[in-house]
Every structure is written in structure tokens, then in C-alpha cells.
Amino acid sequence: MSTTTPLEPDTFAISVGLAAPRLPRWASLLVAVLAVAVSGLLTMLLGWSLVGGVIVAGALFIVGVPVWSLLLEGRRSAADRFATCLVWTTFAIVLVPLVWLIWMVVKTGASVISMEFLTYDMRNIVGPGGGIYHALMGTLLITLAAAIISVPIGLFAAIYLVEYGKGSRLARVTTFLVDVMTGIPSIVAGLFALALFVLIFGPAIRIGFGGSVALSLLMIPTVVRSSEEMLRLVPSDLREASYALGIPKWRTIVKVVLPTALGGIITGIVLAISRVIGETAPLLVVAGATDSVNFNLFSGRMMTLPVYIFSQYSSPGVAPIGGGDPPGYARAWGAALVLIAIVMILNLVARFIGYKFAPKTGRRR
């Protein structure tokens, strides 16, 4: 009879030694709640600061789960749970400054954003009012020009490194110099651009294009590096397939290698742009600061968002009579919010493009 009735799953598992006591699924949650409760109680009773309470709660959580697991499940599971707790805690720690920063900027900046703020410049504004139009346009123009300078140079350098210069002395020197360029402090790039334009146009020159040159110095190494990585990822099988069809090398690069790597290359370029768009020092040095709109990259000072934030915060204007902050502070936060929004939009665009241009497999992923 026992041969005809199938064993109950539980008895079967126990009979072959597969079953072991396990913590319930809500164990970590329970420990977390307890840790917060205990540390909260201690904070209130002993008068700790909020930071101290949070640290104690985290420590209790990291210790509590593995200890419970050790008592119930054994050493291997305890080590596993310890590592899991550690990973989650560090993840939470990483999130704290990010969320905090965005929260601060949105909270302080959002109230300033209005149609006027986005479409007015700061000409003849002493008290409240005014806007970031001149800085917004300046940032967009200078960054666009920087991208126009550095994308071709960076991309062609990457193509040389991957497709032509493999292992040659020139390629090694180029790679080394690109690595050195990555480490250039941005203020040095600004001073270089200033010196260059002073040499050409005489002293006291401040033009937006100088800012573009400085930014492109910072952008080129990033573009070279990311494009190089992407081009290297293209399998050499594809190049050989193309050569075997009697397609010359340059066409193989243009029509096979570049399209295959396009998504990654564009993502890299956009990330490079969003990295330099927030640079302050080089723009302050060479593009200067102004209160008026200037659409001409090649003549006169140009305002940019980072420099606008800096100058609004360093000279916020006169505080209103009867107390309150000077109007410059709010404008600085508003400009910071706009800058973050631009970078975020650029990142979203990069992701979308990367997804759009990724080689299609025709299979669902």
C-alpha cells in the first residue's frame, strides 16, 4: 500500500535531508522594524541626534538578521544574509545623498520656476524678478559648440585607435595622452582656452566660443574612451564578413562597424555632454558673466547656468525690507533645478537612443 500512495512532499523532503529550518520571508522586514523601533526609543530616551539613531538602527539590522539566521539556519545562510544586509544597507546609504540633493533642489527651486523666470534675462534687475533666459541660451549654445568640436575629433580618434592604429606606437601614445587629458582639472582647461584666445585676440578677451573650446578639452577624452570601448565590442567576425564580400575597409567601418556600435557611441556622447554642461570654472574664466542675452558665440561675454548659479549666490542682491532672503538665492536654486532637469533629459534621451539603435535580434528580450 505504501508503494501506491505517493509520499507527501514534506515527508519526502525530510526523508532525503533536503529540508532545513528557514527564516520566514518577512524576517528581514521584522528585524528592520524592530531595529528602527529600538533605536527610536533609545534616541528619545537618551537624547541622541537623528544621525546617531539612524546609524544604530542600521547596525542593529546588520547584526540582527544574521544572528537570528545563525541560530535557526546555520552558518552558510547566516553569511549569505549578512552579505545581503550589507548590500542593501550600502545601497540605502548611496541613495541618501542623491534623494536628499534632488529633494533640496526641487523644494527650494520649484517655487521660482515660472514663465518669467525662463524667458527673462537679468538686465537692469536689482531686486526680485529677472530670469535665466540668457544663461540658458548661453549654456545650450556653448555646450552645443563644444559637442560639435569634440564629437568628430573624439570619434575619429577612437576609430583610428580601434581600426587602424592597433598596437602601433602612435596609438599607444594617443591612448596615454587621452588618459592624461581625462585628469585635467577643468579650471586648467579654462585657463588654457583663455591663454589661447588672449594670444589670438589680445588681452581681456571674453567670448562664448572660448568656453566651448575649454569644454571640448574636457569632453574629448570621454568621447574617445567611450567610443573606443563601443567599437571594440563590435565582433571582428562582422568586419571579416564585410571584407569577404569585397567591401573596402573604410566602407566596412562606415556601414558595418559604426551602425553596430551606434547606440553605445551616442549614449557615450550624451553622457559626456551632460558631464561638461555643469562645468563652472572654465566658463567663468573664459566666457565671463553678463546680465544680457548674447546669441553670438564669437563676440562678447556669455552667461551660462553654472556661472549664473555661482554669481547669484555670491552676490544675491538686496534683501527685501522686513526680512527674508535676498532674491538671488532663490534664482540660484531655480537655475540649479533647470540645470539638473537638462542633464536628466539628456540622460533619458541617451537611454532612448541607445535602446532605439541597439542591434535588433528580432527575438523578444
Binding site: K166, A241, A244, L245, G246, K255, T361, G362
Partner: protein, 259 residues
């Protein structure tokens, strides 16, 4: 028009390393020639010298002569790109272009060389090539779908269609079936039989039965010893190779008593 290939005293180098030494053979037009031999003996290397794909690898070079219908392939006046247009190649692993549809993959040889052609000509070439590669019935309703979406065997046949779309004189195949299941393999072997009437075909294979099934001539490559260059041991009609080879070592390899 298919072409024959005469190889005389060919030494193949990777930098200073002599990989294959002293190859002499005549590959007949409109016939299938198979190369067999253990791994690392230089079959694929030799195959790649026949359309100057060898020199794609930095430092690779050859000495000796490869004559294709009276022209020396390694003459300084010869353009390697022109050579590869006449001598096509199919690789071990299927490698359709991932950014292109099935249709574009077949036309890649023309499109990427910016050859102008009308839509109807292009359609005709695609259909002819895909029929030639025994793939037409399977993909005719989804020509605009990505080539990477096909199965491995279909991808390999797509690569063959791509290679024959440019109408080469010679088709080199480097272990075209090694990554495929028996059914796809059989489809490709049937295809080789059909292509034989129009193309000169050279195939490298590790599968002795395959060499016996598809080829008219067979060349056996071997290493004298580890570290020595590979060389051509014997080159004879396939029936003779598999029944009564001249060399002791050929028989040993074919019958599985090797090494």
C-alpha cells in the same frame, strides 16, 4: 564563370611564425575541394590565403604563388578588395550583420559598395540568392525582419545567400556546418551540391563523412610535430583518398587511428 586555383610552394606566416609550409595543389573549377586534418594544422589559414583574407590579421604574410586563371593573387598590382569580390567566403560561425534585415543582409555586398540598382533588380537578386541558399521558402514572408532573429542554421544559409549574391567565381567555406545540427548540415550539403554547377567550392571540415559526401577532391593537412608548420600531406580525388590513399598517415587519420 568558375575559376580554378593553382597554388605553388606557398608558405604562410604569422609574423615570423611559419604556420603552413610548402603547399602545392590545383583546385579544379566547378568542383568541390575539401580540406581535412587535425585542429591547428593550417587548413583555415590556407583557405584564408585564397582570397587574401589572411592579411587582415596584423603581421600575417605569405610567400609563394596563388594563381587564379593565370593571374597571380599576390602580385603587387592586385587589389585585395577586388579579389574578395570574386572569391567569396562563408565563415565557421554565422555572422549576419546585426543592424540589417534579412533583405538588407542579402544585398549587403551590393549596398555596402554603393552599387545603384532598381528595386525590381534588388528584389530579383534577393529572391535568387535566397532560393540558391535554400532559404527562400522559410523567410519570404519576413524579409524585413532582422537577420539575427533566424535560427543558427538559417543564419548560416543567410550568410551563404549573402556570399552568392555578389556572384563570386569561387566560394570558400570555413567549417560552415560545425555550429549546426544534422538537419541544417544536410540542408547546407545539399546546397553545396547544387552550387557546384556554377561555383568552384573549397570547404574546410572536421567531419570526415562530410568530406566524403560533398567533395570531389580532398586535401589532408597535418603537422609533422607540435610547433612544426602544417603541411599538405596528400591531395587526391576523394574516392581515392577514402579507399586507397597514397600515404600511411592519411589512412590513419581517416580511419580514426590517428596520433
Amino acid at each position: 564563370m568558375a575559376k580554378s586555383i593553382d597554388v605553388s610552394d606557398l608558405n604562410i606566416y604569422y609574423g615570423d611564425f611559419l604556420a603552413v609550409a610548402g603547399v602545392n595543389m590545383t583546385i579544379r573549377a566547378k568542383a568541390v575541394t575539401a580540406f581535412i586534418g587535425p585542429s591547428g594544422c593550417g587548413k583555415s589559414t590556407f583557405l584564408r590565403t585564397l582570397n587574401r583574407m589572411h592579411e587582415v590579421i596584423p603581421g600575417a604574410r605569405v610567400e609563394g604563388k596563388v594563381m587564379v586563371s593565370g593571374q597571380s593573387l599576390y602580385d603587387p598590382a592586385i587589389d585585395p578588395v577586388a579579389v574578395r569580390r570574386q572569391i567569396g567566403m562563408v565563415f565557421q560561425r554565422p555572422n549576419p550583420f546585426p543592424t540589417m534585415s534579412i533583405y538588407e543582409n542579402v544585398l549587403a555586398g551590393m549596398r555596402l559598395n554603393s552599387k545603384k540598382m532598381s528595386k525590381s533588380d534588388a528584389d530579383a537578386i534577393v529572391e535568387k540568392s535566397l532560393r540558391g541558399a535554400n532559404l527562400w521558402t522559410e523567410v519570404k514572408d519576413r524579409l524585413s525582419k532582422p537577420g539575427m532573429g533566424l535560427s543558427g542554421g538559417q543564419q548560416q544559409r543567410l550568410c551563404i545567400a549573402r556570399a552568392i549574391a555578389v556572384e563570386p567565381e569561387v566560394l570558400l567555406m570555413d567549417e560552415p556546418c560545425s555550429a549546426l545540427d544534422p538537419i541544417s548540415t544536410s540542408a547546407i550539403e545539399d546546397l553545396i551540391h547544387e552550387l557546384k554547377s556554377e561555383y568552384t567550392i573549397v570547404i574546410v571540415t572536421h567531419n570526415m563523412q562530410q568530406a566524403a559526401r560533398v567533395s570531389d577532391d580532398t586535401g589532408f593537412f597535418n603537422l609533422k610535430a607540435t610547433g612544426e608548420p602544417g603541411h599538405l600531406v596528400e591531395f587526391n580525388p576523394t574516392t581515392k583518398m577514402f579507399t586507397n590513399p597514397d600515404e600511411e598517415s592519411t589512412e590513419a587519420y581517416i580511419s580514426g587511428r590517428f596520433g
